[in-house]
C-alpha cells in the first residue's frame, strides 16, 4: 500500500485545485473522486461575492471585512483570498488560457437574458462592448436546444432602457452536419475543435457578420482551454465576439476541468475515478486511513494529510436522511446548523438566501473540523469548498471563490507543515 503526502477526497473544483496546489509544492498527491465529481456541472468562471444581505456588491474584496465571522471568507482571511486569486490568474496565464479580472465584479449576460456578477472570467466572456454598442447580433444554431434567442432578447429588454433601446438581430447558422438527435452547446463546442468545422463556421459567419459588429453566441469555442480559434475568428471577422453563460453542462466548465485535470496528471497526481470514500479510521485525533468501497471491493488509502472536498448536499459531502439531521458521512464531523429544521427553506425561486444552504462542517480559521468547544476533531483533516458552513453560494454567487480560497489556504498550511515552506 502506498503512502501519500496528501489524499484529496472529491474531484470537484475544490478538490482538483487543491491537488494542483499540492503538486506544485512537490507533494505526493492522490485525488479520489466519486465518478469524476460534479465539476462538469459548473460554468468555469470564478464568482467571488455578488450579493450579501440584499446588498449588490461591486467590490467583493472590499466587502469581505463586513462579513460575519462564521462566513468562510472571514475564516480564510482576505490576505489568503487575494493570494489565491493571484495564483489562479498566474496559473491560467502560464497555461495560455489567461483569465481576466477587473478587480471588481463584472456582470455577464446569461442565456436566460439576465446578468450575473462574477470576478474572474476567460476573455471569450468579456462583456464591455455589449454594454456600449447599439446594434447587437445574436448567433443561433439550427437544431440547438438550450438556447432561445427570442427569450434572451425579451428578458434583456425588460432589464432597463439601455438594453431596451438596442437593436438586436438574430441570425441562424446551419452547421450542415447530420445529427439524428437534438444538439446541445457542448456538441457544437466539440465540433468546433475540428479544423474543417472551424473553417466552415468562419466562412458562414463571414457571410452574416459585418465588420466591427458585436456578436453574442452560446459557448461554442471548443471544449479545450485554448483561445486560438477565438482569436482567429475575431481577427478574421474584425468583430467583437462574446460568449453567453449557458445552462449546464457548460463547455466553459469543461475547458476549466480539462485545464486543471491535464495539469495535475502531468504533475504526477494520481486521480482515482469512480471511487467513493465511505469511511475513515481516526486514532488519537489523527486520520490514519480512508477507505473506498465499489460493490464490495474495498481499497485503503493512507496519507499524512487529508483534504475533504466532497461538496454539500448536492455533491454528497453532506447527507440528510432524517428530518433535521445532517451527517458528514466520512469522518462524522460536527455540523453547523444555523437554523431550526422548520426554518430551513425560504420561498422557492425568490431571489433570497435559503437558510439550509449555510449548513456545513464546523471549522476553525485553519479550516480544520472542530467541536462546540472549538477543539480540533481530526488534526490532519482540512475542509475545502462547498461542505464548509456559513455561506449560501447560490444566493451570494460565491461558490468557486470559496473553493479556490479555501483550497489555497489549506495547501499553504499543509505545505508549511510538510516542507517548512
Amino acid at each position: 500500500m502506498k503512502n501519500y503526502d496528501v489524499a484529496v477526497i472529491g474531484g470537484g473544483f475544490s478538490g482538483l485545485y487543491s491537488a494542483l496546489l499540492c503538486a506544485e509544492k512537490g507533494l505526493n498527491t492522490v485525488v479520489i473522486a466519486n465518478g469524476i465529481g460534479k465539476i462538469l456541472f459548473e460554468d468555469g468562471i470564478i464568482d467571488l461575492l455578488g450579493y450579501y444581505d440584499n446588498n449588490v456588491i461591486s467590490d467583493p474584496l472590499g466587502y469581505i471585512d463586513n462579513l460575519p465571522k462564521e462566513h468562510p471568507y472571514s475564516k480564510i482571511n482576505k490576505n489568503f483570498i487575494e493570494k489565491a486569486l493571484t495564483h489562479f490568474l498566474n496559473f491560467t496565464k502560464q497555461e495560455n488560457y489567461e483569465y481576466v479580472t477587473y478587480n471588481k465584479n463584472v456582470w455577464l449576460p446569461t442565456i436566460a437574458g439576465t446578468f450575473k456578477p462574477t470576478f474572474l472570467i476567460p476573455k471569450t466572456f468579456i462583456p464591455d462592448t455589449f454594454k456600449d454598442q447599439k446594434e447587437i447580433i445574436i448567433v443561433n444554431f439550427k437544431r440547438l436546444k438550450d438556447f432561445y434567442p427570442e427569450l434572451f432578447v425579451n428578458n434583456l429588454m425588460n432589464i432597463n432602457d439601455k438594453y431596451r433601446n438596442k437593436d438586436y438581430k438574430i441570425v441562424n447558422i446551419d452547421m450542415d452536419i447530420y445529427f439524428d438527435r437534438d444538439i446541445n452547446i457542448v456538441d457544437l463546442a466539440n465540433l468546433l475543435e475540428h479544423t474543417e468545422v472551424q473553417e466552415y463556421f468562419a466562412k458562414k459567419m463571414a457571410t452574416v457578420i459585418p465588420k466591427n459588429s458585436v456578436v453574442l453566441l452560446p459557448q461554442v469555442f471548443g471544449t479545450n482551454s485554448s483561445y486560438k480559434y477565438y482569436d482567429y475568428l475575431t481577427n478574421t471577422l474584425q468583430a467583437k465576439i462574446i460568449e453567453i453563460i449557458g445552462m449546464p453542462p457548460a463547455s466553459s466548465g469543461l475547458r476549466l476541468y480539462n485545464l486543471i485535470n491535464n495539469k495535475i496528471k502531468a504533475l504526477g497526481v494520481s486521480v482515482i475515478n469512480n471511487a467513493k470514500v465511505i469511511s475513515s479510521i481516526v486514532n488519537d485525533n489523527k486520520c490514519v486511513q480512508i477507505k473506498t468501497d465499489i460493490l464490495g471491493k474495498k481499497i485503503e488509502y493512507q496519507a499524512k494529510y487529508y483534504i475533504l472536498a466532497t461538496g454539500g448536499f448536492y455533491g454528497g459531502g453532506l447527507e440528510s436522511k432524517y428530518p433535521g439531521e445532517v451527517l458528514e458521512p466520512i469522518f462524522n464531523l460536527k455540523i453547523d446548523k444555523p437554523v431550526d429544521y422548520d426554518k430551513w427553506t425560504a420561498e422557492l425561486l425568490e431571489n433570497s438566501p435559503q437558510p439550509y444552504a449555510k449548513i456545513g462542517v464546523k471549522v476553525n480559521e485553519n479550516l480544520q473540523p472542530i467541536n462546540e468547544a472549538q477543539q480540533v476533531l481530526v488534526d490532519n483533516v482540512f475542509v475545502a469548498g462547498r461542505n464548509l458552513s456559513g455561506f449560501d453560494p447560490s444566493y451570494e454567487k460565491s461558490n468557486k471563490g470559496v473553493s479556490l480560497a479555501s483550497a489555497y489556504k489549506i495547501v499553504s498550511l499543509i505545505g508549511e507543515k510538510i516542507n517548512g515552506i
Binding site: 500500500m1 502506498k2 492522490v30 466519486n34 465518478g35 469524476i36 465529481g37 460534479k38 462538469l40 456541472f41 452536419i177 447530420y178 445529427f179 439524428d180 438527435r181 446541445n184 457542448v186 466539440n190 449546464p248 453542462p249 469543461l254 491535464n262 496528471k265 504526477g268 494520481s270 486521480v271 482515482i272 475515478n273 469512480n274 471511487a275 467513493k276 473506498t292 465499489i294 460493490l295 464490495g296 471491493k297 474495498k298 481499497i299 455533491g315 454528497g316
Partner: protein
Amino acid sequence: MEYNLDNCLACNICNLNCPVMAVHPEFKGPKLSGPAYERFRINASEIDENILLCSNCKTCDTVCPANVPIASLNMKAKANYYKYHKHSLSDWILSNGEKLGKFASLSPYITNFSIKYFKKALKLVNISNKAPLPKYSKKNFYQEFKKIKQQSFEHKVLFYPGCFINFYQPEVGIDLVKLLQKIKIEVIVDERFICCGSPYVSNGYLDIAKNNAIHNFELLKYWIIERKIPVLALCTTCSLMLRQEYQELFDMDEIKTIANNIYDAGEYLLKILPKEIDKIKINKQKLSEMIYHAPCHLKVQGIGLPFYEILTQIIGMNIQNADAGCCGISGNYGFKDENYNTSMKVGNKLFDKIEKSKADVVLSECGTCRIQIEHGSQRKTEHPVTILEKLIS
C-alpha cells in the same frame, strides 16, 4: 442488484464523456438510452434499436457522480431487444470466442491462414474485413503453463487468464507467472473456469452470460472462501465482469462477500510490492520510450491505474499517460462491420496522441485495446506486466 433510477439527476456528465456520442450523430447517448428510457421499458418489444450503438465501454459509469450503472442498464435493454429481433451471425461469432478458440486451437495455423486469406468472406457475416482480428496462438495458455516448473511457495494466488490470454496471447500470462515467482508467489490455475461472459453481454446474450457467471461464481467461492486463495486476472474486462458486472447484471449480490479477493493483477502487485521493494532487485536497463493507455474497463473499477502507478512511481520510469479516452474497440464492438468506422473515429484522439509522442511502445492492460492501438497507430504494444517482469529480478 436493485437500484433506484431516480439516482440519475440527468446532469449530462455521462453524455459529455460518451465516446460514441462524440462521433456518432445518431446515438442518443447514455443518459437517454440508460436511465431515462429505462422508465418506459415496460414492454421489451418497444426497445429502440438505437441501443445497439452502445459499445459497453462503461465510460458513463466511470464518470457518473451518482453511481448509476448506466452501461449495465443498456446491456439489459440490448438483451431484451433481441427477444424480439434476430441476432446477426457476427453476434454469435464474436460472443463465442471461447468455443471458437477451443476449436481453432486444434489447428491454429489453418485458422489463422483462413482468416487471413478469406478476409473478404468476413463481410458476409458482418465482421469488418478492415478490423484487426487477433491471431490464434500455437499453444494456449494452459498448455504453456504446464511446461513451467514452478517453485512452490506458501503464498499462492489463482490466475484466471480469460479467453484473450488463453487463446491469443498466452505469453502475457506466462510473464505474470514468471514475475510472481520472482517475488516468491506460486501460481495456481483451474481449467474448470470458463469465459467470464462479457462478450455475450455486449452482444445481447445475457442468458448465456448468466450461466457462465453462475458456473464461475461457484469456483470463485471455492478458491476464495474454502481455500483462502485470491484470484487474479490480467484482462481488465474479466476482472470487471467477475467482481462488478455479475452483481449489476445478474443480481448476484453474494459476489460482494468475495469481491475484495478478486484482483486485477496490477492492483494485487501494487498492494504487495511496496512491502517487498527492499527485497527485490530492479534491473535499470535501457528500454524503448513508452506511452500508456488506460483501458476503459480498468478506469471504471475505481482502483486507479495500478500497473501505471507501479511502473512510474515505484519503479520510477518516465512513461506518459496518453489519457485520451476510449480506443474505440470496446471488446468486440469495433470488429463488427457496421461499427468499424465509429470505432476508428473514437480511437482517433488516442492514435493522434500516440503518434505525436516519441514512444515506440504502447502499454495497455487490455488485449483488444492493444490490437486496436497497433491497427490505429502502427506501434508495437505490450501488457505492462511484460515490462515489469523484465525489470524485476
